[in-house]
């Protein structure tokens, strides 16, 4: 089983080698003439105001959190889908129960306006 993954390892080595090699090459080949104006963070030509590491709106966090919970749901669907033939009607019923409970959560989230982006 493990030998099936060996070519992937080769590909990982190739891809990493290419990416790092290209980065290093351009680092070596490119000119290096920094000056204060050039290395200033771009803010349409103005002097940057305040720190760039701003706090981000809480909405993004809410989206990421809901993503995790639904992602788990999807992860549970895959093994179910491939053994569906063995499970038959029982498999359908148990998944309907699972999905129904999560749909309750989805409707709650929707009704509470957590999916609105204003």
């Amino acid at each position: 089983m493990l030998s099936a993954y060996f070519p992937i390892l080769v590909l990982i080595v190739l891809a990493t080698g290419f990416a790092l090699g290209a980065l290093t090459l351009s680092h070596v080949l490119g000119p290096k003439r920094p000056n204060p104006a050039k290395s200033e963070p771009y803010e349409c030509g103005m002097r940057p105001i305040g720190s760039a590491r701003q706090r981000i709106p809480v909405r993004f966090y809410l989206i990421a959190m809901l993503f995790i919970l639904f992602d788990i749901e999807i992860v549970f669907l895959y093994p179910w889908a491939i053994v569906f033939d063995h499970l038959g009607l029982f498999g359908l019923v148990e998944m309907i129960v699972f999905i129904a409970i999560l749909v309750v959560g989805y409707v709650y989230v929707w009704r509470k306006g957590a999916l609105e982006w204003e």
């Binding site: 959190m65 995790i68 919970l69």
Partner: protein, 100 residues
């Protein structure tokens, strides 16, 4: 084949790192990450024993542990965010009252 005991020792090392992290740091996010480290070391032991016993139950447990970890992280970080919104700090030493 590497003996199962080796994997258990690795798991113990990772678990200890997590424990020390929780005890030493006072940033709740890093403490949380240390807890994830501990959960993962437990998963490693589960998988190692699953192979040792030739039984897949251990792998199913890991699956469930991951689901629990996801729920735990989501709620835990939500609590951190909620605390920050009311207290403007998340240093655990500063959080010494039960109400906010």
């Amino acid at each position: 084949m590497v003996p199962t005991a080796h994997y258990v020792i690795l798991s113990a090392l990772l678990f200890t790192t997590g424990v020390v992290g929780v005890l030493v740091r006072r940033n709740p996010i890093i403490m949380f990450m240390s807890i994830e480290l501990m959960l993962n070391s437990a998963n490693l032991a589960f998988v190692a024993f699953a192979r040792h016993l030739r039984s897949l139950d251990g792998q199913v447990f890991v699956f469930i542990v991951m689901a629990v970890a996801a729920a735990e992280v989501a709620v835990g970080l939500a609590i951190i965010v909620a605390i920050f919104r009311t207290r403007a700090t998340i240093d655990v030493d500063e959080l010494n009252v039960m109400k906010w």
